[in-house]
């Protein structure tokens, strides 16, 4: 390739990657102005660039949201900073630089590392909408764990039953009734392959489009509803303003529908039918359902909570219900806990918890914490908490930690800077290469889970030689226990790293809200964790039988 041509292509590529310097831009502009051949070559590459972007957007939308590799960038391997000592045979050293990737891929395996923790960048997902309300939603495969408040990346929402509302970034609001399969294809469009949907489209979202198997609806700023039945022809109902409908059939002629008009589209057959606003749930009705459902769930959880406090192995159980607005202590509700094990609040403000009317403490300042005594040495431990992570400002963002991090067996439970759930146990004295034993899940708290209420649990099960991290009732990692020490908490701190005398302390405060915490001196099993999550979940109503079982 002639030098001049190679230079031209180099500059065009840099333009597409947003990397041109001022001088390079001027040089490229001169070439493009002077030569029509340069402009031809520019457009040739521009088409590849454009069709690649179209492919990327469609692929992104098409792939199921559950596929982790699409949802988040893999963290950068930083071999030089990972000083790990793996036990022979458990993690070959050749894997070292890539272990964050391996962990992300093998979600249920988990990983452990001795001593110093690596640092990884947290990369946010690209959101196109927010899930704003849910009412009795049962998710289908691939959408499990999606909660009100979640930021939604392009991809499918599979709903078995229930009703939800999605607010697109450009302003369109959609109420979706299950059973439904709805794909968010961009910040102003979606594809409905099954279910019932109603949309309100304010002016900034004009052009909001919904594709169905038979037609595409383009909105002019209005209210409309779409039904795609499992069997039979899809329908479009217009309740206000005007929409354009582009059938997929041979006619390809756009039709416009005004308020109170509706059609059923079956191939080339377009049949006028009466518009039926009663057939769709609107925003107001959903909001009413939501409030009613939340109140019922709060009552059910209160019943569960009373029963759970009687568990004989509870060391600490805090429900974060203040005795008054200025309450500065929390009662340990564990019925068999040693006397005098109440908790003192240091800093922290009272805020709303995971339901309206439920209390929570907000942890913001580096010194905010709750302190309580949990004396003893433990072969096994279970940590449970309902938390809302608002940010990950520190390397370790502590949920619970012992006060004296120098003591062997001292235990820390935390969210790591990459969003993984982690536990650390001091396994040797300071200075030894194996001084801390850490086990992390793969990253849990990322763009779409920040700011939403999440149930986290970690079970250190000595008898089964297994450490398991759980998120929203599901095990997310299981790792063999690699230490002999008994675990200690001593004076434990909630929402902060224990402060020890002597050398400067690492800042490790939690940033977010906590509204329920329990610590048990035994290992709960997966079924028990699942039932506690279900009884306490703000997003799903459960039958009284499920709650009674957990008791």
């Amino acid at each position: 390739m002639p030098l001049e041509l190679a230079r031209l292509e180099y500059l065009i590529h840099r333009h597409f990657d947003g990397l041109l310097s001022g001088d390079e831009r001027a040089e490229l502009e001169r070439m493009l102005l002077e030569s029509s051949d340069a402009r031809r070559r520019f457009w040739e590459l521009a088409r590849v660039n454009a069709v690649l972007r179209q492919w990327g957007q469609e692929e992104w939308g098409r792939k199921d949201g559950a596929q982790a590799h699409l949802r988040v960038l893999p963290p950068a391997p930083r071999a030089a900073r990972i000083r790990t000592m793996h036990r022979p045979g458990e993690m070959p050293s050749t894997v070292n630089p890539w272990w964050p990737l391996a962990a992300a891929a093998a979600f249920v395996i988990g990983f452990f590392v001795w001593t110093s923790l690596p640092s990884q960048p947290v990369v946010m997902e690209r959101g196109v909408a927010v899930l704003t309300q849910t009412s009795d939603v049962v998710w289908g495969q691939g959408s499990e764990g999606t909660r009100a408040g979640s930021v939604l990346a392009p991809g499918w929402l599979h709903v078995k039953s229930g009703v939800l509302q999605v607010e697109f970034s450009r302003g369109a609001r959609v109420v979706l009734e299950g059973p439904a399969d709805f794909c968010l294809t961009s910040d102003n469009s979606g594809e409905l392959t099954r279910g019932r949907l109603s949309a309100v489209v304010p002016e900034p979202a004009h052009g909001f489009a919904v594709r169905t198997p038979e037609f595409t609806v383009v909105d002019h700023g209005t209210k409309f509803g779409c039904v795609v039945p499992a069997k039979g022809a899809p329908e479009l109902h217009v309740f206000g303003g005007l929409v354009g409908m582009l059938p997929d059939g041979a006619t390809k002629e756009t039709r416009s529908l005004r308020a109170n008009e509706a059609v059923r589209v079956d191939g080339d057959k377009i049949q006028a039918i009466p518009a039926d606003p009663q057939a769709f749930i609107d925003e107001e009705e959903l909001a009413l359902r939501d409030r009613h459902g939340l109140h019922e769930r709060l009552l059910a959880w209160q019943g569960f909570s009373r029963g759970f406090s009687q568990h004989r192995d509870l060391l600490a159980y805090l429900d974060f219900q203040p005795s008054g607005e200025s309450a500065r202590s929390l009662v340990n509700l564990a019925a068999h806990a040693p006397a005098g094990s109440g908790a003192a609040i240091v800093g922290c403000d009272w805020v709303e918890g995971r339901w309206p009317g439920k209390g929570a403490l907000e942890f913001k300042r580096t010194d905010d914490r709750v302190r309580m005594n949990a004396p003893g040495n433990f072969a096994s431990l279970t940590f449970l908490a309902w938390i809302r992570v608002d940010g990950l400002p520190n390397r370790i963002n502590a949920l619970i930690s012992g006060e004296n991090t120098e003591r062997l067996g001292e235990t820390q439970w935390y969210v790591y800077e990459d969003g993984s759930l982690g536990i650390g146990v001091r396994a040797a004295e300071r200075g030894k290469p194996t001084q801390w034993w850490h086990v992390h899940s793969s990253p849990v708290f990322k763009g779409n889970t920040l700011g939403t209420w999440t149930f986290v649990a970690t079970v250190f099960d000595r008898a089964a030689n297994r450490l398991t991290h759980y998120v929203n009732g599901q095990a997310v990692s299981t790792t063999p226990i690699g230490i002999e020490q008994l675990l200690e908490l001593g004076t434990m701190e909630i929402g902060n790293l224990g402060s020890h005398d002597g050398s400067a302390r690492e800042v490790g405060n939690f940033e977010g809200r906590i509204d329920e915490v329990a610590v048990l001196s035994t290992a709960l099993n997966a079924g028990e964790i699942r039932r506690i999550y279900e009884a306490g979940s703000p997003g799903e109503a459960k039958s009284p039988a499920v709650v009674a079982q957990a008791n």
């Binding site: 831009r25 502009e29 520019f42 454009a50 690649l52 492919w55 961009s186």
Partner: protein, 178 residues
């Protein structure tokens, strides 16, 4: 726009339908001039609003593409002028020259997309990863560099080579099916 404001709702719907049909090519056209993906979305959205507002001016049977492209070019220049701090775009005379060149071209986006879907499967794994991060996840090269543990230059080289490979693959396959 409400139905009261528009005397010819059918015309608006017709024009919007055409817009949706031409959307991939129009987006690609803007993407050539502005490398920032989110700015491209803003320009396309603005273009849609203007196309809707001016729908009555469009004569059925005339070249929708040329009409919409003119509006998109105008919107691009307008937005770029509003944001002089942006470096990821061309001077006005260059945009005009490029648009004059492209105006007569028709983009067979559907066919290209079909062929591209095949061609990307032939990319080497690392090149494919860079392409996915750039075009699927919309990350900029410095972010991709951090994610892959590469330098920005290495990412640029990988993306450039991948695009040249894909251009050649597309040209071959499109010629074979023509």
């Amino acid at each position: 726009m409400s139905s009261e404001e528009s005397p010819q709702p059918d015309q608006v719907a017709h024009v919007q339908g055409l817009f949706v049909q031409h959307l991939p090519a129009l987006r690609g056209f803007v993407l050539a001039l502005v490398s920032d993906f989110s700015l491209v979305d803003d320009i396309v959205q603005e273009t849609f609003l203007t196309v809707t507002a001016k729908a009555v001016e469009f004569e059925r049977g005339t070249n929708f593409r040329a009409w919409a492209w003119t509006i998109a070019r105008y919107k691009t220049l307008q937005i770029l002028k509003k944001r002089p701090s942006l470096t990821s775009h061309f001077a006005e005379d260059v945009v005009e020259a490029l648009c004059a060149h492209d105006a007569s071209q028709d983009w067979k986006t559907e066919e290209m997309l079909q062929q591209l879907t095949k061609c990307v499967t032939e990319l080497a794994p690392k090149a494919r990863q860079a392409i996915d991060l750039r075009y699927m996840q919309a990350h900029r090269p410095p972010e991709i560099a951090r994610a892959m543990g590469w330098t920005v230059d290495a990412v640029h080289v990988a993306l450039s080579r991948a695009r040249v490979f894909l251009r050649d693959c597309l040209n071959r396959n499109l010629a074979a099916t023509a």
